[in-house]
């Protein structure tokens, strides 16, 4: 997935609405100011277009996935003998969560 840009002009409406634009946009269609890469989640200005999320938002997303995986793993422990299928699902989610978008 590609990175997003945003308008950092505090007076601009698109800034207030945290509106994002595709990478190919260089200037804000509303106010004309230069657009910068921003975090898809919190709109923090990012130094370059290498990531979609800022480090903190990325971690928050990781944490949500990790918690989900752990919850499923706890379920596996609760179900006697029948946990194999559920464990499979947990492993799949686990693999997914380790992969960076």
């Amino acid at each position: 997935m590609s990175c997003l840009k945003g308008c950092i002009n505090k007076k601009c409406e698109t800034n207030k609405n945290k509106q994002t634009y595709p990478e190919k946009f260089d200037y804000c269609p509303k106010c004309g100011e230069r657009l910068y890469y921003v975090c898809k989640e919190c709109y923090t200005q990012l130094p370059d277009g290498s990531k979609q999320y800022c480090e903190l938002c990325w971690e928050k997303k990781q944490n949500a996935k990790e918690k989900a995986v752990d919850a499923v793993a706890a379920l596996v422990d609760l179900i006697p003998n029948g946990g194999a299928a559920v464990k499979n699902i947990a492993d799949t989610i686990g693999k997914f969560s380790n992969r960076r978008k």
Binding site: I8, V38, T44, Q45, L46, C54, E55, L56, E59, E66
Partner: protein
């Protein structure tokens, strides 16, 4: 051009330290601002006087030039950045040729550079060319003092917000220095007073040093992504570390400013600018270097140039030049009129 009025306006945004208690968060910045004001009002004119006296002693004020002054002109040198730097370093010579006056800067190799035209402006008060040169030099000093003051004030606003926010468990080191300084104020005996002040300065220096190490290790922890070990909770761990980093920064700022302010008060200007240099270096090495990431770990930062970290990373002081000029009083600043 900058005027004393401009600088006073910039300094005026800070309360005088006399109106504040020692424990007030705004005290260090206020003490330093008072000191800088004092440099402008007392020390800079003294430097200029010294230069003037040296020139009088050397009898380098030709009558012809003196005659010109009586007409009430003001002379302004047209100059670019390089020339300006030369001037700030005190390597300027005024030359009269065919009745026209030009200024020349002495280059590093001892040779004089190209002649620069001097514009003539009418003035109500009488000014001599030497005073003109001095005015230009004072302007250069004021220029620097203003930049330094503005940058420090700007940082100080953010710092005070952090200090007011919550209990700071790192401020103890700073308080130990501040308390010694406060005590020294109530001591009549000069020797004891000096000893206490020296201890206060040492404690403040130690506080800044220790907390810089703490702050650097906290930043390194985040750079190395050690928080990943806290499975499912890493975002919270980042926030806690960032909070610690901000607390350290606020105390480091206070310790540097109070130390610079004390030196200023003692009229130890070289030491003061060394402290400010040290602060600028700290900003450069610890904050500017990591600004790209600090903005991403800090929930309250929007990552823009105006945000907390990036705006702080910009502090670049020209204090070392200032040091040299303020210390030039015992060795005459190179200035002559031929």
């Amino acid at each position: 051009m900058f005027s004393v009025k401009n600088v006073n306006a910039a300094l005026g945004t800070v309360l005088s330290s006399k109106e504040l208690s020692f424990t007030d968060d705004a005290y260090p910045a206020a003490l330093l601002a008072d000191g800088l004001k004092d440099i402008l009002e007392r020390v800079v004119p003294a430097v200029v006087d010294d230069v003037y006296n040296v020139l009088l002693e050397q009898n380098v004020l030709p009558t012809q030039v003196q005659f010109l002054l009586k007409k009430g002109y003001r002379y302004v040198v047209d100059m670019d950045e390089d020339t300006r730097r030369g001037l700030e370093e005190g390597r300027l010579k005024l030359v009269t040729e065919h009745g026209k006056m030009t200024a020349q800067i002495r280059e590093a190799n001892g040779q004089y550079g190209p002649k620069l035209p001097i514009k003539k402006e009418y003035l109500s008060a009488e000014l001599n060319p030497l005073q003109v040169v001095n005015i230009l030099q004072i302007n250069a000093l004021q220029d620097k003092l203003q930049i330094i003051t503005e940058q420090i004030n700007m940082i100080d606003i953010g710092v005070q917000r952090i200090l007011q926010g919550q209990q700071n468990d790192r401020i103890g080191l700073y308080y130990s220095g501040m308390n010694l300084y406060q005590e020294s104020k109530y001591i009549a005996d000069n020797e004891l007073k000096n000893a206490l002040t020296a201890q206060a300065l040492r404690a403040l220096s130690e506080a800044a040093y220790q907390l810089t190490l703490t702050m650097q290790s906290d930043i390194q922890y985040l750079v190395d992504k050690k928080y990943r070990e806290a499975r499912g909770n890493s975002a919270e761990v980042i926030k806690e570390r960032m909070n610690g980093i901000k607390q350290s920064f606020a105390v480091i700022h206070q310790a540097f400013l109070l130390r610079a302010g004390i030196y200023c008060e003692l009229n130890e200007l070289a030491a003061m600018s060394m402290v400010l240099d040290g602060y600028a270096q700290f900003i450069e090495n610890t904050i500017a270097k990591h600004a790209d990431r600090l903005v991403q770990w800090d929930e309250d930062d929007d990552g823009t140039e105006k945000g907390f970290w990036r705006s702080r990373a910009k502090l670049k002081t020209t204090v070392s030049d200032l040091t040299r000029q303020l210390n030039a009083t015992d060795k005459p600043i190179y200035l002559s009129i031929v």
